[in-house]
């Protein structure tokens, strides 16, 4: 330990001794002054502090909001259409709970202050009042009905079927990173089985090469999405449970080994647009793993780039199918339509165009 650390410890011990001595002394004083008088004095102080806590607390909450509001996502429009619904729901809930919070806290601390012990007053014997109790059963019930109705209305919209024109992308999590797979020109993700996984042979996702649909599937290192075009993520995990967390899109879905999950949404702003909106040069859409997955959990990051259709087409045409990577000497025994790797990637380029028409 350094000298400063020793110093801090010594100071703390001294502070404690002072508090203890004061506390002990106050007990002796109360014996001298009379218990009753001491009680009355302490009661007044504590009652007054109730009021102070209420006023200072509410002011501090306001100040805290001023400091931190801009650091949240509350002020920034959601980057997905689903997120807009979630934001609306958030504001409705914030308004209702905010009112309840302020009112109940004021009543609580105000009553605590106002009805502090006083010799002249007697407590009011008031064991129950059925009307009042009915009132505050009914009012919360109505408020919650409103919240449940809005909530479920949005919930069904968000979790409903993805539109037919949605682009499909597979996202696979493992300790500690993300893999992406695009279906390629046929628009179909090929079959896979976990027992076929063999990273050394260029098959990290366990694709079944006997399935022709796999031959044009792409396996890029970044997730690119097209602005204003719905996307459906098919989410898998290879080892433990992970979670695709998309803070700016306000969405989240677990990646569960053995049980693929799905989530769809429509990105609203390109990455470039978000840079302008946030005023942050370095802005990037990040995928955060939101389910504890081991010691590298905090570093399990993915990157999403939202771009225009043209930019996307250009990018995807430069990607090479995983099949080609796995079979550098050209396709082995398998199916008919296997072209040499080079022309395969050329096909992938042409393949992006028909998709653009959607």
């Amino acid at each position: 330990m350094t000298w400063t650390e020793y110093f801090v410890v010594i100071i703390l011990v001294l502070i404690f001794i002072v508090i203890f001595q004061i506390a002990k002394a106050s007990e002796y004083v109360s014996v001298l002054k009379g218990e009753k008088k001491t009680f009355e004095q302490n009661n007044r102080i504590n009652a007054f502090l109730m009021l102070v806590f209420l006023v200072v607390g509410l002011a501090a909450a306001w100040w805290c909001n001023k400091l931190l509001y801009k650091k949240t996502l509350l002020w920034l429009p959601s980057a997905s259409e689903h997120g807009e619904k979630i934001d609306t729901m958030m504001w409705i809930t914030l308004a209702i709970t905010g009112i309840v919070f302020v009112l109940t806290q004021i009543l609580l601390f105000w009553f605590a202050y106002k009805y502090q012990a006083n010799e002249k007053r007697k407590a009011h014997y008031y064991p129950h009042n059925n009307k009042l109790e009915l009132l505050w059963t009914a009012v919360p019930a109505i408020a919650l009905t409103v919240l449940v109705s809005f909530g479920l209305y949005y919930w069904y919209k968000i979790t409903g079927e993805a539109p037919k024109e949605a682009m499909e992308v597979e996202v696979t999590g493992h300790q500690f990173g993300w893999e992406y797979r695009y279906p390629g020109k046929d628009g179909v993700l090929g079959r896979q089985h976990f027992k076929l996984t063999d990273a050394a042979k260029g098959n990290p996702l366990g694709q079944d090469w006997k399935d022709v649909a796999n031959h044009d599937d792409l396996h890029p290192s970044e997730l690119h999405l097209v602005v204003d075009k719905p996307v459906k993520l098919i989410i898998r995990s290879q080892d433990v449970i992970h979670d695709v967390g998309l803070a700016h899109f306000r969405l989240k879905m677990d990646a569960v080994p053995g049980t693929p999950t799905t989530m769809w949404f429509t990105p609203k702003y390109t990455t470039a647009r978000m840079k302008e909106m946030t005023g942050n040069e370095n802005f990037v859409y990040e995928i955060s793993c939101d389910q504890m997955c081991g010691s590298g959990h905090y570093s399990m990051k993915g990157t999403i780039i939202v771009e225009t259709q043209e930019e996307f087409d250009k990018w995807i045409s430069a990607q090479k199918p995983q099949y080609a990577t796995a079979h550098p000497d050209g396709a082995p025994a398998v199916a008919a339509a296997t072209a040499p790797p080079v022309s395969d990637s050329v096909k992938a380029a042409t393949n992006a165009e028909p998709k653009a028409e959607h």
Binding site: C64, L108, Y115, A123, L147
Partner: protein, 601 residues
Amino acid sequence: MSNEIAVQHGVIPHEVHEHHDGHHHHETFITKYVFSQDHKMIAKQFLITGIIWAIVGGLMSVLFRIQLGYPEATLPWLEDIFGHWAKDGKIQPEFYYALGTMHGTILVFFVLTAGLSGTFANLLIPYQVGARDMASPFMNMLSYWFFVLASIIIMASLFVQTGPASGGWTVYPPLSALGDASQGSKIGMDLWLISMAMFVVSQLLGGLNYVSTILNMRTKGMTMTRLPLTIWAILFTAILGILSFPVLFSGFILLLFDRHLGTSFYLSDIVLGGNILPNEGGSPILYQHLFWFLGHPEVYIIILPTMGLVSEVMSINARKPIFGYMAMIASMFAIALLAFLVWAHHMFVTGLNPFLGSVFVLLTLLIAVPSAIKVFNWITTLWRGNIRFTPGMLFCVGFVSMFISGGLTGIFLGNSTLDLHLHDTYFVIAHFHIVMGVSAFMGMFAGIYHWFPKMYGRYMNNTMGYIHFWVTMVCAYVIFWPMHYEGFAGMPRRYYDYSGWESFKHFVELNRVISFAAILSFLVQLMFVFNFFYSIFKGRKVTTQNPWGANTLEWTTPIRPGHGNWPGEIPEVHRWAYDYGKDGKDFIPQTEPVGKDESTH
């Protein structure tokens, strides 16, 4: 019912006789302080064990808050103490996750379940229903010693080479099932599971005893509707535990099978670090269902007893009956019932069928209704009272304030639409720490300050009590209020370091403030612990039998009661526990017969 009471009444002289026998035999140190079967001593044992665990668990949170508040700092003294866990004076990720996991396990189970229910159920049930001891004092003793066994095993796991469990207190498989997935999933995880199995046994032994004592051993005249709310709360708590802990137990046993016997209950389609595992057909989601079937009632197992304690202490110190006694019981019943029907709200984003999710949204938000009733009833209890701010009463007010704050944020998280954004962010941490961490502690402190004179025949120091309350109250809000904002930024929980994230790295200063408040709050709790132990030996002596002017039966026992509680016959009860300020009288104890011209309510 009347039959039962008659029979029981008949038993009393016999018990008194036994009690006298006990004196002839002279209790040894072992039978009095170690393997005691006296409910009062067992309560103290639970409380002190709970306090020790709270210090350990709290210290863990201080350590990981150091990492979060000062991620850049190197503190060589950490390496002096923790060796390779804090290599080069920096807390390592595996250590950080182990700390978080054990902090959660210890605080949720060992402190706020065993330490809380164990203390107050044991202390108050026989005292307040008017019984000489628990239905089965021997089972009661076993309950405590199984808890000790669980404690020893989990404490041992802190010292094994690969460290304790580190996959979060919920220990979701496959992470917890596969030793190769994480250091903490090796032997530490086995010890965790065995310890928790012992813990469940302890809880069941205790719970069955609580329920049978409350139902069968009430004194003459103590009908169910004359019971203090503390006892009602403990009854519901015990029933929740009895029905849900076995499910958790089964979930843990299946996890042990998956770990060691090659079964595939929770495992399927796994490629771990390049190795293809043979398991097929299992579902990790099954574990989550089994876990949360206890896990959700568990939060009510924690909060219900404190609701009872607060209702009682608040009524006594407001010198006014608790408002809406029957509504309080009904709302606790509703909470206990709904507790079993909401577990999947922890699983909205697991790929759960959205329709099923919507049912759980409805049932979850329904819980807000009985919770709101309770809050309004507490506030109305203060209204036109004559409030004495004892330290216990201060903590009651703190409890209600925290319960409101944390309860309202539950309305966000229970709504699946908002959960999509807020799930597993700091918003969740803020929510459950306020509503079941801080609130429960406030309720527990209220109980400790209030019943300390009954436990030890001495008072705790008031001045330290006031300081304890106000600093705790301020720190709790400073720690957890700003975390909601981190949650609104989507900042994930259980991250060791945020500096690599463009989306979350701007909260460094805030994290430092939070860490500072957390450390200060921990120090103040140490002051409370000092006050507690100092007052056992040196506190101001209690000189009157009923120092708070309370109605319930425990204050009719001698200041330092022996085994058997009442030296003579057990008193008879003639009224409910809340006649404060009635007909101009400050208080009317339960033992006082109803007068002829007394008003009815």
